[in-house]
Amino acid sequence: MNFMKRAWLNLIAKKGRSLLLILVTGAIMLFVMAGLLIKSAASQAVASAKNSVGATITLTANRQAAFKKMRSSNASSGQPGKRPSLSLDPVKLSTVKQIARLKNVAGYTTTVSAAANAKSFEAISTSSSAQGPAGPGGASSGDITISGVSSTSGSTSFAAGKAKITKGRGLKTSDRGTNNVVIESELATQNSLKVGDTITVKATSGTKKTHSLKIVGIYQAASTAAASMGPGASDPANTIFTSDTLANTLKGSKYKDTADSVVFTVSAPSKVAAVKKQAAKLISSKYSLSLDDQNYQMVKSSMGSVTSFADKVVWLVAIAGTIILALIVILMIRERRYEIGILMAMGESRFKIIAQFFVELFAVLLVGVGIATAGGSYVGGKLADQVVASAATNTSQTAGQVLGSKTGGPAGQAPSGGGPSGQMPGAADAARATQAKQQAKLTVKVTAKAVAILFGLGLAIILLAILAAAAGILRLQPKLILIQ
């Protein structure tokens, strides 16, 4: 084991050189590590996006079919002056229950949009809603948006984190048939309302009757929601969550046992396609089923570019690093020609001469990988933030264009007959893109696998470089090494 001792003596006697070697090795290893980490983080992000957003199916009226019908009826009536009206058939709950009985359907939440006018209290008026015209398409509108849900926790706004309960409780399926509601905190503050109070609203369609509502909870809407409102839209604080049955009552008797949209939860993302196929058999062409996998698609495409970037980093640094490290090792060994000659003149075996160099560089590699392990998360994280930021900007732009050109998103906020003006589709897409961007944030963490890969790579490089450099010297007669 004398070669071990020699290796140690060499490393400590030539501290400057050892330190330089460690720094170079550490830097190379650090970048390879960062690349490896970003790559695995990107594929993990795709996998988790798939798991988190892919497991729902939304049932809505088929807007495309409705538009087609509207155009053909316009043409046949031959009255170009008449404003076209779009009639969307609400989803029947009987159909919903049929679908809910399918295998792998874990549950569903229904959404009913309605409008009403505040009676016992004041609605919040924003400058845009005050100046704006009444809702588009001649739909009856009020100053209060009624969002009827089977449960608040299952509704899109709450599930997406755009709204959260701050006082009291949310609505549950047991609230169906009651007049329990949840109102926004701004609306509550302005009208000095609290949980347990009763308010009244007047329906804008159907019977136009006055209904009294009982506040069971107060929620807070995310501030970004206001920015995503189009002109003429009601302030988001004016949205009152009710049970879907109450919303239907406000809309009118013909809307009994219906919903604007229903979101089915499927037990596993992998089962979604099969469930959709089966459910499609149960509905007519007036309705459409859509998968809410846009987040997943967006994360997937943005992560695709991250993965390809990380791949390039790994390859580039690995190749450049291999060359640099190999050259340094070769130079170092050539410079130690006389040392090799002395060892050979003493009869030291070639194997032990190589072993000494290997031990020296192994120690250097060990520290280098240590540096990479310690700094990998930091450097990888910084690099990942940059890459993700540019990737997300690119994809949200293209995704925005794609989504904008597509009519009838699956989200329940799309305006429907008799409903309020609702959110602009473009705004919804923008919000979606932001959401995807947040999900695309990579968590870069050093893994044992990455350390092992790095170590293997480094080991292979130094072993090959030592053999390449030493072979040229060791095959010579010692005389030629020593006396030249």
Binding site: N2, K5, R6, L9, N10, A13, K14, Y338, E339, G341, I342, L343, M344, A345, M346, G347, E348, S349, Q477, P478, K479, L480, L482, I483
Partner: protein, 229 residues
Amino acid sequence: MLETENLTYWYTNQADYLFQGEHLQFEPGHSYAIVGQSGSGKTTMVSLLAGLDTPKAGTIRIDGQDIAQIGLAHYRRRKVSVVFQAFNLFTYMSALENLMTAMAITKAAHAGDQAFAQAMLQRLGLTDEQMRQNVQRLSGGQQQRVAIARTMVCDAPLVVADEPTGNLDEANTDEVIALFNQIAHEQGKCVIIVTHEPSVAAQCDGVLRLAHRTFTWEKTPAPQLAKKG
């Protein structure tokens, strides 16, 4: 103890051989000087004797055994110890570490015995401090003494030196040659020194001259000087 039979060598890129069919014999307990003009082939000869190169023809035997048969690496490890004009020592070690390393590699009887190595360096005039600092901080004469101390702590019966005094002044040269004579006469080893200095050759027991591609004895060691061991 060391003999060459029909020893022949030439460099492939040169027109003529350096020497041919040489029969030479060296005995333990004696010091030998090899002299001759520059470029005549002295270094080449001792490289063959030290097992650092292989002859083109002929054999070298130590105690009757062909060194090619023993294996050159083994021969170098166990039988011969070399001292050159320069580049003798591991530059990243102290004098003491150099000796310890050499003893370990050659599996000397005193391998691992630091006190023994220390005593040897002390005997050769190195202070405790000098033997513990990096060898590059020692003078040329001190470094050469370390190389000689190294041959003394190792067990190899043959010591080969190529112009070991080439970089030294007169006083240091005399000291170093005196040490080589000690190795021959006290340790009973066979010492072969290449030199171009007549004064060095004069202090050796035997003198072998290489001229006109032939080795001739200028002086043969007196038999009574030999200490049989």
